[in-house]
Symmetry: C2
């Protein structure tokens, strides 16, 4: 990212010296992706200053690279007319990406000020649910009738106004039904008189407008395609989704999984203003407080045993902590497996068997180690054995909980990634404290 | 994934009835990606049976979709000559993907049995380090001299033997230096007599053979390109990396981050045989055992206070648990920010400020709640206050540790994701137990 950092330095220097003309030249030559990154890192008012120096074409490209909440803040500081003139020059699917991030009223105001035709196209796309193929698709694709020849198809492409992101030519029948595709490379290599139908791929994987974007991403990864056609219930071609949008989806979904597993909302970035994330962070911290109180109440049941033998309090968190790593490891692998499509109900038994085996073997190994440490430390052999047994037991609980809870969430169509350590380690905390302190209480007269 | 599931059912039924001829027909028509997925889910011996029914072309395509350790197991069950005949028909970069997963001896044996020319090409690619652009690149690209015309370039593409995954034509000068690219779409639309140099993009982002694959992925995401050129130190074009390989990298890196944050090796899949992952799981569990013993030894310092007031043991884990969620949340956002390129040293102050603010505000909110709960439960106002104060303090520690440790690891070129909860929560465990039990011990005579 050296280019971006150098650009950032140049821009900051020119801003400080207020050399706006020179700055405008620099911005005109920089890549919009770099400019948007620099704007993200600048304080809001300087970001606006930089943005205003961009030509309208550039401004549009920069805008579609920005994400919420920086985008929201920037657009909020501009006039609505100013924004609508910029959006007028952008492809509808990019406008959608901007407008969907804005507060409803502002979005409506801006759409009203836009050119009517463009505004209508955007509103049609906005009718599809967020997170579906319809929301992602672009309508600017090249389609030819199955009976055209290669030469005619090439002529058609020449006249088309689509961008240069088109890498396939789509083949449709008389009713606009998708019946195949031809990669441009093959079109170029073919004899001009060949009919398109002779060189098309017939087996084309397509999605419908309400296919989930995660499914679209899985299709692209599984079949190695770089453009996915979106069709209606009758297989009429409505639009296409390019691989660059799919990569964004893959990235977003990975961020969501990572963050949810870590007890964060799923769409937080390091640069978000603290106030914007306060509520979401607090919710999980309160949930965690609740589960911690639950675990504490289990300990409370055994307060008299601890009163009698304070050493119990020393070892108690070890069992819980080991249960924590056990569940976290298992749940992490399972949640990722679900996301990658490896973890299905048909392999559930096999995976559960694996985790139980791992729980038992690593549990036994760890149990022996901790029993030995405890014995050397406190010299109480029975207490050491109780600790070891409770640890093995808790590792088995971890294997079961870590495997089954994400799968159960998936069955109920809840994101398995919310099975974050906050939630699942509650089970091992409770079981851990219960088994260790319970066993110790049962055998307390031999311990004192 | 309905197609794959249906295919799996059909294959299992045909296998059970031993209808091999019918099965071969089904396999010939299925997508290689689907076949490889079904093989992964089958027991190893049945997987081999299915694989042997594939034609050589298909077998190669299926092989390059499989990953370690299923690939290893499958190849291990086949004759080396059998495998080398299949690899002979695959593009060198795909052969590399297979061979690099195999044990060294087996790989060498197979390479020796392959056609000499192919084998040499593969070995050249294998000389580049794993995880670099050199390892990923394909040498089958289309390059034309900058002085050719559009018509000549098209003629060149017709004769080229590259696959259909080529979407750009690369432009080079007389010394094979990369000087631009032309998307195929633009080539099609241009007048045949135009010189290529008039329609090329000059600003082409390239990487060198030893660029890290993560950096390649970042480039693709940042600039929305679908093919990345790989050049040597003199900017001579050596190969290209297609977006499908980049998507695999993005997926692998996300898996690695998610798993390492969860204390797992980084490349485990749910279907891995338990024995293959035992060692890696155990290592982290042992590390965790070590950190848990460390935390326990802190508690051990205050054993006499606990002996005097067992209620301390009840509340003690709450402070540690809250520190745990605090560090995990912060570290998760920071680690992901580093991976996405948002978290750089230039924003470190801002992010640290944000996390401290969040630690203080959510800590205060949580501290009040827990103090109230503790007071209602045990009726000891001073103990409740100590608990609240220790919690706020621990949330501040969490903010600092969660931000600085991943950044420090990045500075030392260690993957920030190994700052998993196992490691970082040790700090909050220790600080939490120390502050809560320490404060309580200082004030013990007011508590009894």
């Amino acid at each position: 990212m050296d280019d971006t950092e150098r650009l950032a330095e140049t821009i900051k220097a020119l801003l400080a010296e207020s050399r706006d003309e020179r700055l405008a030249d620099v911005l005109e030559e920089a890549h919009p992706a770099d400019v948007s990154r620099v704007i993200r890192e600048l304080p809001p008012d300087e970001g606006v200053r930089v943005f205003r120096l961009l030509s309208r074409e550039r401004a549009g490209a920069v805008l579609s690279e920005l994400d919420d909440p920086v985008l929201r803040e920037l657009v909020g500081s501009l006039e609505e007319t100013e924004v609508s003139r910029i959006l007028d020059r952008m492809p509808p699917d990019h406008v959608v990406e901007v407008v969907e991030e804005l507060p409803r009223e502002q979005a409506e105001g801006i759409l009203e000020l836009m050119e009517e035709e463009k505004s209508e196209e955007v509103q049609e796309l906005l009718e599809y649910r967020e997170g579906t193929a319809g929301r992602l698709m672009s309508r600017e694709f090249v389609a030819v009738h199955e009976r055209t020849t290669v030469a005619q198809a090439i002529e058609h492409i020449r006249k088309a106004t689509t961008g240069e992101d088109a890498f396939y030519v789509w083949v449709v029948d008389g009713h606009e039904h998708l019946v195949g595709l031809v990669p441009l490379h093959r079109l170029l290599a073919a004899d001009p008189h060949t009919p398109i139908s002779a060189i098309r791929n017939e087996d084309v994987e397509s999605v419908t407008v309400d296919t989930d974007q995660e499914e679209v991403a899985r299709l692209v990864q599984h079949y190695n395609v770089i453009e996915v056609p979106v069709v209606d219930a009758n297989r009429r071609l409505l639009g296409t989704i390019g691989v660059e949008d799919v990569i964004d989806v893959i990235r977003e979904e990975a961020t969501e999984d990572i963050q949810r597993l870590g007890g964060v909302a799923g769409d937080e970035t390091v640069l978000d203003p603290p106030r914007a994330v306060f509520g979401k962070r607090l919710v999980w911290r309160l949930v965690n407080l609740g589960t911690a109180v639950l675990a504490a109440s289990v300990i409370g049941l055994f307060e008299s045993s601890i009163q009698a033998l304070a050493t119990l309090a020393v070892f108690m968190p070890i069992v819980a902590s080991m249960g924590g790593i056990g569940t976290t490891q298992t749940a992490t692998v399972v949640v990722r497996g679900i996301a990658l499509g490896d973890m299905t109900s048909s392999v559930l038994r096999r995976v559960l068997g694996k985790e139980l085996w791992l729980g038992l073997t690593t549990g036994a190994a760890n149990g022996l180690v901790i029993a030995l440490i405890a014995w050397l430390w406190k010299g109480q052999i029975l207490l050491s054995l109780i600790l070891g047994v409770a640890l093995v037991f808790n590792m088995l609980v971890a294997a079961i909980v870590g495997t089954l809870i994400p799968m159960a969430l998936k069955t109920f169509r809840v994101d398995p990634a919310i099975a974050s350590s906050v939630i699942i380690t509650t089970f091992t905390d409770v079981c851990g404290f219960f088994s260790f302190l319970g066993l110790a209480t049962l055998l307390i007269r031999f311990l004192l």
